[in-house]
Subunit: 382 residues, 2 copies
């Protein structure tokens, strides 16, 4: 029974050798659901739904012209206190790149086609199409077919995380890493940036390279300034890319995330609340802010928790549905529907509202929020 | 194997009959840990750790002069929106009693002794002793040995929930229900209050009895006023006590609980945060408050989340331990140690700091908060 239906890629000796994991272990992982079969858009692949040993979640093994391994993007850990963490973590210098508020995309050449994977390893049809439109990657991939471009899809016409950046507008892609397909080895920071410049590809902003002693103060200033411009934060990197990067975000980013979570409290808030609040606590502590600044932060936190709830309760009472509308650019109804099918793969329930001026409005309903707010408005007990 | 060591009370035909649960089901519940053996202070009993059918969690079956059943205090459900809930729930009138911020205690006569049980059914040695000192229950129990006095232990010298009430001071007991031992049937509200007056026993405050149509507006005013005086909220009851009571609390109570939870964020906050925030959202919505009032509420929420974290981080950095000190009045070291053993039964780790002027200082360490704050202050990653 157990041996039935194992995809050939899972049992393949070549895959086992490439990943340095015994075939039996891979088969076991398949039975446990760590690895899943993934057949979409003409590609035959296996997807790592979870991490397994040294192989990251989101890793895809694709049966193309040969077997291609696109490794998952490594999780970047967060520092709560810059001062002690940077000194502990980095050796000499810290390079600071902007962390943008969008979604993580890996772009690679597979079977001579440019394909975009989201964080979990799903091929996103919209992102793949947009990547081909927005970026001229032909020369790059001709010269570097074994490399993976890792970056953030940002802008307002972004179905996952819509955020306005003045320099981006509707949709743009900013690159933060170039990695090797099979090994996931990243290029050193400056080398990466030069290579991107050679191909006229746009990197995320480099905000400075600092001696580790000066870095905490500098970075705190940078993050404060980013926050005041409604920007998310930074990723701190070893310029040689031999140490794990770290991330750190602005109070405004935390507030924005609270705001989003509390717009759909019974769907999202439990998962979001605690960690955002903890980040604020340590940031406020480290900055040693004045009473006035601290009070402003408390108010910002309180408002981003309370106000979105009030808005949602009001909407539901007024007969609206607790939902968010995702906007994407499409050339046809089929493109919109393809994207909705992709969302279903991600277990996100959404439906097409309308297509107007080349934009599809896709509604994602947050069912628990909808049901529970209704219930309480009708006198239901908690 | 399974049949070994079942306490006789669990298998007893008499207990089965009294509770109206087949013996086999009781034995099964015992194996599942729903029922536990409880031998303390010379009493042989079984304790319902969880609810089971119509029998509430916290129910105690005691082998005394006969078999005595002290039923668990029923969980009181909460309304998030007074206006729709009260109309749905109550029929003609709503009696409003103050909900005080202390801990729920049931006092009963067992083997001619006055014994105090906390919510979970544990006999609290401190509460039992204090109940005997504070209350003159002899006449009451002589006349009503089959009744259980249910009330709130409040005040500052209260090891579970310390809160200052001007009319109480250090320690006091306010009664909200009189119930029957085996059936848990409560006395009708006015009859209960008359009976308590007859025995000079103090009830919680009755804040009004309103027609159900007027109740939401009246109660919102009452709760607002209570909040402004740092008091918790109300329990709304059917005067005949034939319908389940409901509770509703002030914004200040929510803020105070957030403050407590965020003082020990890695021990308490996850469990507390979400529900308190939801209560605030619906209360703010229902009161239709002005922009200014709403902003004040947001600030109150933000401050009660942020400030206690800052204080705890500061303390830990300064070398202190993340802990709370419980104060109880004792006549001897043995009394303090007895109470600490009782806390161990509850899985609360605490130790005696000192005894001074008849007061024992008992320190409860919040270990996760302590360890994790230390770790982040030393540069640990999140």
């Amino acid at each position: 029974m157990r041996e039935k239906n194992i995809p050939p890629l899972v049992s393949s000796g070549e895959v086992s050798q490439l990943l340095d994991i015994p075939s039996l272990k891979l088969e076991d992982a398949y039975h446990k659901g760590i690895i899943k079969k993934y057949h979409r858009y003409g590609l035959e692949a296996i997807q790592f739904r979870k991490g397994m040993g040294h192989i990251e979640a989101g890793t895809m093994v694709v049966n193309g012209d040969g077997i291609e391994v696109i490794r998952g993007f490594p999780k970047i850990r967060r520092t709560l206190m810059l001062q002690p963490a940077l000194g502990q973590h980095f050796s000499r210098e810290v390079a600071v790149e902007e962390k943008m508020n969008g979604y993580n995309v890996r772009i690679a050449l597979i079977n001579q086609e440019i394909v975009a994977f989201t964080r979990g390893g799903y091929i996103c049809p919209y992102t793949s199409r947009k990547a081909r439109q927005l970026l001229d990657l032909d020369d790059f991939f001709q010269d570097h077919p074994q490399k993976v471009i890792c970056g953030e899809m940002v802008g307002t016409l972004n179905p996952y995380v819509s955020h306005y950046y003045p320099e981006v507008g509707k949709l743009g892609f900013r690159i933060f890493d170039i990695r090797e397909k099979l090994t996931n080895t990243p290029l050193p920071l400056l080398f990466k940036r030069e290579l991107l410049a050679d191909y006229h590809l746009e990197p995320v902003r480099l905000l400075g390279i600092f001696p580790v002693e000066e870095a905490p103060v500098k970075i705190m200033e940078i993050v404060k300034d980013l926050g005041e411009h409604d920007r998310e934060g930074v990723v701190m990197k070893d310029p040689h890319m031999e140490l794990e990067p770290l991330k750190y975000t602005s109070s405004q980013a935390q507030a924005a995330e609270l705001e989003y979570a509390l717009t759909f409290p019974f769907d999202l808030a439990k998962a979001f609340l605690f960690s955002r609040i903890i980040r604020e606590g340590f940031q406020s502590y480290e900055t040693g802010e004045s009473d006035q600044e601290r009070r402003e932060r408390a108010l910002r936190m309180g408002e981003s928790i309370l106000y979105p709830m009030l808005e949602t309760i009001g909407k539901v009472e007024g007969g609206e549905v607790a939902a968010e509308d995702l906007l994407i650019e499409v050339d046809s109804q089929e493109e919109a529907e393809e994207f909705i099918r992709h969302l279903r793969d991600l277990k996100v329930m959404a439906s097409l509202v309308e297509i107007k001026d080349g934009k599809a409005v896709i509604r994602r309903i947050h069912q628990s929020t909808n049901d529970r707010v209704h219930n309480y408005l009708e006198g239901g007990l908690y």
